[in-house]
């Protein structure tokens, strides 16, 4: 019965073929570490946010007179509304944690390098969509921090040349953040996750074209690939179990650690909170924004700090394949970059004092220096490593890569001849 139904479908839709090719037999490097679990975890986080979000949307009211009350209604009266709300608010933080670790893995192992540039850039687009979604979602509770955070960030668009003031009004739907802003942010916050789903599919199509990289950073021989199912389906499931335990600790025991206390006060346009702080996942970029004393300069610096990741495939000029495995200088740069991100996060959370301002400026300069020095450092490192003598397996694999490249070029020339 089951078999006959599948055959009926397969005549009309490539279901079994797709599942077999892309999920079961799909070749995956056998040496993937647990750092490769975070892609699937990000997908799960997205699904959890969408499901809890849709159920929350059944009870939420996007009107400035009702929004805060509707959240309290969800927390108190809706059956397991408190659970929906806390899963959704903790889920946003979990999503960013997973994405940042996923990005760190990509940077550390050089998975952004050819031929995976499009994966990196679709990922970059996904990050921007996620940040926009989170920013708009944060306004919806209409708390003090929601309102003032939105007021500060929408105000930044004033930096747009010539038409800045009009852009801010167009964005907000009014002269200040208000009912018009809340309504449109709600509409877009509901929409964007589905755009994200589409972009994830593009990201996965790109992945299936070039296949996963691996911890060595070098393309393995075909014999070193194993089928995705059952090896990585079970590994992803196990990783999901660990993730859900950590996630549940936050949802059930520490949900309010991630909610600013000021957001439990209804928004008051006439009273600015003592410290306006974004959610933790925006803190490093907020620190960079505040490090530049000029508004336009700060906006440019902040935008650049997010966008500069896209340049990585061009900034990394080393011919040594992969990421940190065989490249000690690159590894040191990576670790310093990560420590610097935490410093920026700390600066972003603290109120501005001469001390934190200077620290923030130093950390901002360091942040961009890592990227700007990479072309020079990567070339110098390559020369140093080649002079010292590369390990045998790297030499061999570079040779293999060169042979494969020449073969491909010859095949292409023969076809065109």
């Amino acid at each position: 019965m089951y078999k006959r139904t599948l055959e009926w479908i397969d005549k009309r839709f490539p279901l079994t073929g797709f599942v077999k090719h892309s999920l079961v037999d799909y070749p995956t490097p056998r040496n993937l570490s647990y750092w490769w679990n975070f892609g699937s975890l990000a997908g799960i986080a997205l699904v959890m946010q969408i499901i809890t979000g849709i159920f929350l949307a059944m009870h939420y009211k996007a009107d400035i007179g009702m929004a805060f009350d509707s959240i309290q209604h969800i927390m108190r009266d809706v059956n397991y509304g408190w659970l929906l709300r806390f899963i959704h608010s903790s889920g946003a933080s979990a999503f960013f944690a997973v994405i940042y670790i996923h990005m760190a893995r990509t940077l550390y192992y050089g998975s952004y390098r050819a031929p995976r540039e499009l994966m990196w850039w679709t990922g970059q687009g996904l990050l921007l969509l996620l940040m926009a979604t989170a920013f708009m979602g944060y306004l919806l509770p209409w708390g003090q921090m929601s309102y003032w955070g939105a007021a500060v960030i929408t105000n930044l668009f004033r930096a747009t040349p010539f038409i800045g003031d009009y852009v801010v009004i167009w964005l907000r739907g009014d002269f200040q953040v208000g009912d018009a802003t809340l309504t449109r942010f709600y509409a877009l916050h509901y929409l964007l996750p589905f755009i994200i789903v589409g972009a994830v599919m593009v990201h996965l199509v790109a992945l299936h074209t070039v296949k996963s990289s691996n911890p060595s950073g070098i393309n393995l021989a075909d014999k070193d690939n194993i089928p995705f199912h059952p090896y990585f389906t079970i590994k992803d499931l196990y990783g999901l179990g660990v993730y859900l335990i950590v996630f549940s600790i936050f949802v059930f025991f520490m949900p309010d650690t991630l909610i600013e206390s000021a957001n439990n006060i209804p928004a008051n346009p006439l009273q600015t909170p003592a410290h306006i702080v974004p959610e933790w996942y925006f803190l490093p970029f907020y620190a960079i924004l505040r490090s530049v004393p000029d508004l336009a300069g700060g906006v440019v610096a902040m935008a650049l700090s997010v966008m500069i990741f896209a340049a990585m495939p061009f900034l990394d000029r080393s011919k040594i394949p992969g990421g940190s495995r065989y490249r000690p200088a690159y590894r040191v740069m990576f670790y310093l970059f990560i420590v610097n991100i935490f410093v920026l996060g700390y600066v972003g959370a603290k109120p501005v004092t001469p001390g934190t301002a200077m620290l923030g400026q130093f950390a901002t300069v360091f942040y961009f220096s890592v990227f700007l020095l990479l072309p020079w450092i990567s070339k110098k490192e390559e020369k140093y490593l080649r002079d010292r003598g590369l390990p045998a397996e790297v030499e061999e694999l570079i040779k293999d890569e060169e042979i494969k490249k020449t073969e491909r070029r010859q095949k292409r020339d023969r076809r065109h001849a």
Partner: protein
């Protein structure tokens, strides 16, 4: 690799200290009771002392009944208002503003969540009144317009002070419940969820090891 991971994890955890409240003065971190008897006594204190000026708008009289307050007491509180009315301040907003120098007493439903320091802030605030040369003031909220409703500043006798302290703790316990009535349920459910997930994850781990052992 493992060492670096531990270092990153440590740094990440430490960075949460950035969220520590930057109140200049140390809070009084007495233990606030969480048992239902204290919460019930706290409910009576709050309705008898606080609701004259402060609203409690996310709590209805039915919620008080569900908490365990006697029907008679709740009926006394609500008068002829219907049982599912929200608890509002006794004083209308304009009168309160006039009485307290333009400041309307804030609603208390979420007060323990709305201040850095939570329950510890609330208890410290209630006990933090001092007599200054300019009159009554509060160590934790200088310039507060709220009078010393528990007479904490003027009570010096240790036995009486202990009673005031207990009253303040019970008020805090009730307001902590009011801010998140499902907290107990959430933690209970959480224990079962984590236990289940732990068992599931351990089984998944062994299954993973078993499947991967088939690999040459």
């Amino acid at each position: 690799m493992k060492k670096q991971f531990m270092l990153t994890l440590a740094l990440f955890t430490l960075s949460f200290s950035a969220y520590a409240s930057d109140a200049g003065i140390e809070l009084d971190r007495e233990k606030i009771p969480t048992d239902s008897a204290s919460i019930l006594r706290g409910a009576e204190h709050v309705v008898n002392n606080c609701v004259s000026c402060h609203g409690l708008k996310y709590i209805k009289y039915t919620d008080m009944l569900a908490l365990g307050i006697e029907q008679k007491t709740v009926d006394g509180w609500r008068g002829d208002k219907p049982i599912n009315t929200r608890i509002t301040a006794g004083m209308p907003a304009e009168a309160a503003a006039a009485a307290f120098g333009g400041v309307v007493p804030p609603d208390l439903s979420l007060m323990t969540s709305a201040r850095d320091g939570g329950v510890h802030y609330m208890y410290s605030y209630l006990m933090g009144y001092t007599v200054t040369d300019k009159g009554m003031d509060n160590k934790y909220y200088p310039g507060t317009r709220m009078p010393d409703i528990l007479a904490s500043a003027s009570t010096t006798d240790p036995k009486l002070r202990a009673e005031v302290s207990t009253k303040a703790k019970e008020i805090t316990a009730f307001l902590n419940w009011a801010a998140d009535p499902h907290a107990e349920e959430r933690k209970q459910l959480g224990k079962y969820v984590i236990a289940y997930l732990l068992l599931l994850t351990v089984l998944l781990y062994f299954w993973k090891v078993q499947i991967w052992s088939k690999l040459k």
